[in-house]
Symmetry: C2
Subunit: 348 residues, 2 copies
DNA sequence: ATGAAAGCGCTAACAC
DNA sequence: GTGTTAGCGCTTTCAT
């Protein structure tokens, strides 16, 4: 045994946990060999590997990744920054991201900005302290300081969801503007003449703003003379109750509306169910469209016309890009447009 | 300047990033003082703090938390292990957890087990390597090895969702069995005589199993002679399509059913909408109940009778327990029963 | 195939 | 109020 039976003089509280050295002395090899046996067993003789594995399970050794991180300058960690965890679209993307990263041994740090770019900056700063090997972030609008932090971070970054022509590094998303344009074109082609857009403008949610502006532009182009009617619940909350409220506002303020176009399927579902309750026929009295193609949309009665967007794929493509960049394959920043599709159903 | 103008001889690649030493030499103080100025500014003179802050922003210093972790043996990190990210109930709990932890400077590691306890064990092992200061985990059934790992981890742990009499450390949840019992009691009190339970048994999902067993027990108690009818979609998937499938199976196999009791509001919503589509009157021809009290349940037509469970609160209470334990307040393990409530609406 | 030495960037302990 | 010293547990580099 190479271990000093008295143990080293502890000048400072130790971690109290089993270390590489403990495993090494039990296995009668150097710490270095244990390290190798764990990470590159092919460089170590079979006998030694067996002995080390025995020592590991005997001692219950769990490697300290902070030490590994510090020594190797790689954390095997990915930071993910999203507006909120409890919105299924982002949860789906995280799910996709996690599914791709886990098999490669990367672990996910998650933080929610609550749609505030100041909070986002704080989060980025805090996360950078963990020296992640890659970063996933929803959105392309950041504070100047945040953008700077990201630019000089030297790690691969994927901005997601929005489209922009000047991403910081990689971009995976689709054009919210084009998607809204497409569904407006669709309803106009169906003969609707008086569309109203219904959203809940969260300060800081640039995606919602994009959609609203795109609506106005497209109406101006396709229905000259028609005002760009927009209603806003003002709270920023995206739920079915807000959909009902938006329906009320639209009905009262813009009774001429023949198609009510919601910025989310959640709103649309709430409004649609409320219409049935009130005896408003859809699409007879009023047509309705959504955004997102949530599962409920094809189950509603009538089924909901909406825009399908690639939530999970955003996560998986982002994960693949990160993996590729972190393993040195591919040096170029990529811009991946995952597109969208108008899903024509019964409600419009 | 105390800095050596030639710099130290680099025997090994440096991180290339700004370190505490860089800030210290720019501010003309010792690294220790910089550290103090960041973490306990009240121990440092105001002038020094100002100078250090200036040096930090000049250099763009971002502390390396791996090094901090290693030196201090505290990671300011919490590990959260959930069955899947894209199930709103768990996303809601994470949201609650995150909301409580963030203000205290803790960051969240997240991993999904996909309902496999073997995968869960792997995740625990990997996460323990990061030496989290606390751990949140959904479920109380783990592999023996995982249980052992958790028991000897010396960090506060919160098991959540399920109820058990022998938690590893803390427990925050409610009794799935009691909840099912309560809603069966409710429908029986309403005069229904032929209940059928509809679930999708995911191998490894002990919560679903609990519910099913509780259903059988309660039926045996309240409706003697009545068989415990259960239908199972067999896929483990929880979505509205599965709800429709379960409806089909129940209708065909157990036409005597007067109330179809779903293990999730998602199933119930799919089935309810399908009933309307087919002209089956609810609750006239068939009553329906759900589980979870999702937002959609109070918007459906008819509104859905269900059981409300405290998703977000599970996360926030867990967060509070962890914070308390990590700051040394409270040494005792706690068991928090957050309860549930039957929400009587129109569908049953 | 294995080991020895050095050091990653930070904080704890103790001095002054 | 501030500095000095000695590590935290691992990986890298270089020897053998």
């Amino acid at each position: 045994m190479t271990a000093d039976p008295l143990g080293p003089p502890l000048t400072r509280r130790a971690t109290l946990s089993v270390t590489l050295n403990d495993v090494a002395s039990l296995a009668n090899v150097s710490p270095q060999t244990v390290s190798r046996a764990i990470r590159n067993p092919e460089l170590v003789s079979e006998r030694t590997v067996t002995r080390v594995q025995w020592a590991i399970s005997t001692t219950g050794y769990v490697p300290n990744l902070a030490a590994s991180n510090l020594a190797s300058n790689r954390s095997k960690t990915i930071a993910a920054i999203i507006p909120t965890i409890s919105a299924s679209v982002f949860a789906d993307a995280l799910h996709g991201l996690d599914a791709v990263l886990t098999p490669h041994g990367y672990q996910l740090f998650i933080g929610a900005t609550d749609y505030s770019i100041d909070r986002e900056e704080e989060l980025i700063r805090a996360f950078m302290g963990r020296r992640p090997d890659g970063l996933f972030i929803v959105g392309t609008k950041h504070t100047p300081a945040a953008t700077l932090l990201l630019r000089k971070s030297r790690i691969p970054i994927v901005e997601a969801w929005n489209w922009t022509d000047e991403p910081i590094d990689n971009l995976v998303g689709f054009s919210n503007s084009d998607a809204i344009e497409a569904i407006v074109e669709y309803v106009v082609s169906k003969g609707y003449k008086h569309p109203t857009f219904a959203a809940s403008l969260q300060p800081g949610d640039s995606r919602a703003l994009d959609r609203q502006e795109s609506f106005a532009r497209t109406v101006a182009r396709l229905l000259p003379g028609e005002p760009p009617r927009v209603v806003d619940s003002g709270t920023g909350v995206i739920d079915m109750d807000a959909g009902v409220r938006l329906l009320d506002i639209a009905l009262k303020r813009h009774p001429e509306t023949d198609v009510l176009m919601f910025a989310s399927d959640i709103f649309a579902a709430g409004a649609l169910l409320e219409c049935r309750r009130r005896g408003i026929s859809v699409p007879g009295d009023l047509a309705i469209t959504g955004f997102g193609d949530f599962e409920i949309s094809r189950h509603l009665l009538p089924t909901l016309t909406t825009v399908a967007v690639p939530n999970v794929e955003i996560g998986t493509r982002a994960g693949e890009l990160l993996i590729a960049r972190m393993s040195g394959i591919g040096e170029e920043s990529e811009m991946v447009d995952l597109g969208f599709s108008v899903v024509a159903r019964e409600s419009a």
